[in-house]
């Protein structure tokens, strides 16, 4: 940490230590105009903070994770609960031609019987996926934990918290991270000779869905919370085990096996990794006669202090694990300004790919340790 640079203060009677309080913008500018530009945390503008990850430490969860990125700490727990299809209002099978029946027959080949044959080319579920139709994956982030002075405990969810939860949900849906086939609980009635003669249907029936509640507690808020929350969510889902479950026709309910050996992991689609950034534009007053023409800096993985000073922000989500050498851009968000053009966005995709590699390494290490 380079100590605060002396020419920062316009008036020697204002101590340098007061500068972050008086003018965060001036302080950030003073750091970034150095050559090469350095941020107050002595990172370069494109350098993200290291990620720490720990999985499986919460006893009461099907899956859990702890993600620490700089001063941001998120704890995430996944709980699986059962949603019988009888609980779903106007439940219908979305496949063409199927009509409403409370215990709808599922026309399906052998795919559901084992996850050995999980094929990546499985058809897209699209917007009619049961996951988005019935809200089977429910992410919520809690910021009201005293994680920063701005987020006092026991307050109602702030706009920021609501917005992050919504963005997480939307990325979950658009990236189709969770397979709905992983969440189905299917009953195949025993085929008996006399049933067949009587014409009784013995097709497999969808009896219930697993619902995944993904709850994230923000322990410490230090900027780029969305990234940390998504990575925590991803790692926790990766860690999640779903108990073996079956429909008990006599009890008319779903029963589960408590054996870990029977349980299975979720098979997630790809590894989407978001990279948030901020665009710092110095105030006119701090530029003075420095003579630069509209300078600005793109800061990857902004910390809390930088987030304050950046009006233009955005996030690029990529999945570089495609295998064909090119990464997929899953989502681009940007708002609050017009400094960053197309070319720079393309550059940032490269940075986002680097972030993906970083996360992959951290994730693999954590999963192999757990």
């Amino acid at each position: 940490m380079p100590s605060i640079i002396s020419p920062l203060s316009p008036d020697p009677s204002v101590p340098a230590s007061a500068m972050p309080l008086i003018s965060p913008n001036a302080l950030l500018y003073a750091h970034l105009k150095q050559s090469p530009p350095r941020r107050p945390s002595s990172r370069t503008p494109s350098e993200p903070r290291p990620i720490q990850l720990n999985v499986g430490s919460l006893a009461h969860c099907n899956g859990s994770s702890l993600v620490k990125i700089g001063a941001t700490t998120i704890v995430c727990g996944v709980r699986a609960e059962i949603l019988p299809v009888t609980e779903i209002p106007s439940f219908r099978i979305t496949k063409a031609g199927a009509s409403y029946t409370p215990t709808a027959p599922v026309v399906r080949d052998t795919r559901y019987q084992g996850d050995t044959e999980k094929d990546n080319k499985e058809e897209d579920e699209g917007e009619y996926s049961p996951i988005s139709l019935y809200n089977l994956v429910v992410p919520n982030i809690e910021l009201a934990t005293g994680c920063s002075p701005r987020h006092p405990a026991n307050a109602a969810p702030s706009t920021e918290a609501q917005s992050i939860s919504q963005r997480l949900l939307s990325l979950l849906h658009t990236s189709q991270l969770v397979r709905s086939s992983d969440l189905e609980i299917i009953y195949t009635p025993p085929a008996q000779a006399e049933d067949l003669e009587l014409g009784i249907d013995t097709d497999p029936q969808l009896k219930a869905y697993w619902t995944l509640y993904v709850d994230m507690m923000c322990i410490s808020h230090g900027g780029s919370v969305f990234d940390a929350a998504w990575l925590a969510l991803y790692a926790a889902l990766k860690d999640t085990i779903i108990p073996k479950s079956w429909w008990d026709a006599d009890l008319e309910q779903v029963l589960c096996s408590a054996e870990v050996a029977d349980a299975r992991k979720l098979s997630l689609r790809g590894i989407p990794v978001p990279s948030s950034f901020g665009v710092f534009v110095p105030e006119k007053r701090v530029l003075g006669q420095d003579g630069h023409q509209d300078p600005y800096w793109v800061l990857m993985d902004t910390d809390g202090f930088e987030e304050e000073a950046c009006a233009e922000t955005g996030c690029i989500t990529v999945d570089a694990g495609g295998g064909k050498g090119s990464s997929l851009i899953l989502r681009i968000e940007k708002n609050g300004g017009s400094n960053v053009g197309v070319e720079e966005m393309v550059n940032m995709v490269t940075l986002a790919e680097r972030r993906w590699q970083q996360w992959k390494t951290v994730l693999d290490a954590a999963l192999s340790n757990s």
């Binding site: 006893a59 001063a71 704890v75 709980r79 949603l83 507690m217 479950s245 408590a258 757990s370």
Partner: protein, 310 residues
């Protein structure tokens, strides 16, 4: 009625999974392997929330974990605490020459065996009140006129009480309050709010022994079949004062439980509190040594790892 400010999931009701009676790996009760006067190890760390004036994380040693069953009884206590302030009184407050302390406890939805919603319930309020009262007994409020301080404890994991329990009750709750008091004291000291002493909390209990009831320190509920009585104290060691007492179960001054009187149980709790205080003190002194020795680093960097041991 659903909370529109959160994502509420399916319109229908979901229910926690029902497990078949486990074959083979039945949940075996765990027995206490510690000595009667031995506490569980406490992992404590300060400075986990850089933007707070003070913060701490506390975790109790977890019992050996069975890896073969999805049902997990080996939960422990994991708490995070942040202190904000002293700061201006809220707009609605009237003048006060003293520091206004408020404390709250919040359970994460995954803190208990079955998922809890986000709505604050009576257990949280109750334990928050106890915590607030205990902490009010240790701060020196007149050092901070016209100011408020907020203490927020987040429960990431609570101790299980029974096999099918969905709420933390009994000894689990008492242990939780003890943890809340200890983690809050560490965070308050980290924030350098003036205090009379290092407050510490401990729990003592009378449990059914093989022949006659036993007196133990720091009871973990899953280790005992029957806890006859338990007692929590918030204790100021340097003045030998109690700021909080909470007992469950019956005990008598006469020593009804085979000669173990209430006083003796209270003494056990005080001994447990003394043990906890040693840990708090060690951690605080160590944190001080670290910051003194190090070079000029801002709190960005000098945040240490929150380690969640598996």
């Amino acid at each position: 009625m659903s909370d529109r400010r959160r994502l509420n999931g399916p319109a229908g009701t979901t229910s926690p999974p029902v497990f078949t009676p486990s074959t083979g790996s039945a949940i075996s009760p765990q027995y206490r392997s510690r000595k009667p006067n031995e506490l569980r190890k406490i992992f404590l760390q300060t400075g986990v929330v850089p933007s707070a004036t003070g913060s701490a994380y506390l975790e109790l040693e977890s019992p050996p974990r069975s890896r073969s069953t999805v049902l997990n009884t080996s939960s422990t206590i994991k708490l995070s605490c942040s202190v904000h302030g002293p700061k201006p009184l809220p707009r609605t407050a009237s003048f006060s020459p003293n520091l206004q302390l408020s404390a709250s406890v919040k359970f994460a939805p995954f803190a208990t065996r079955n998922r809890q919603g986000y709505v604050r319930d009576s257990t949280e309020r109750d334990i928050g009140m106890h915590l607030e009262n205990a902490l009010k007994g240790v701060i020196i409020p007149d050092r901070w006129p016209k100011s408020a301080i907020d203490i927020a404890v987040t429960v990431l994991e609570g101790e299980d009480d029974q096999i099918d329990g969905d709420r933390i009750v009994g000894v689990g709750l008492v242990n939780m309050l003890a943890g809340c008091i200890n983690v809050s004291m560490a965070a308050l000291a980290d924030a350098r709010v003036d205090c009379l002493d290092l407050l510490a909390a401990g729990v003592g209990a009378i449990v059914a022994g093989p022949e006659k009831p036993l007196r133990i320190l720091d009871p973990a509920s899953i280790e005992h079949e029957a806890i006859l009585a338990s007692c929590l104290v918030g204790y100021l060691p340097s003045r030998d004062e109690l700021v909080e007492v909470w007992t469950n179960g019956s005990s008598s001054t006469q020593g009804a439980n085979a000669g173990i009187s209430f006083d003796e149980m209270l003494d056990s709790a005080v001994a447990a509190a003394r043990g906890a205080q040693t840990v708090i003190k060690e951690v605080l002194v160590e944190a001080l040594t670290k910051t003194k020795g190090g070079t000029k680093k801002l709190s960005h960097d000098h945040m240490n790892d929150v380690e969640m041991k598996t």
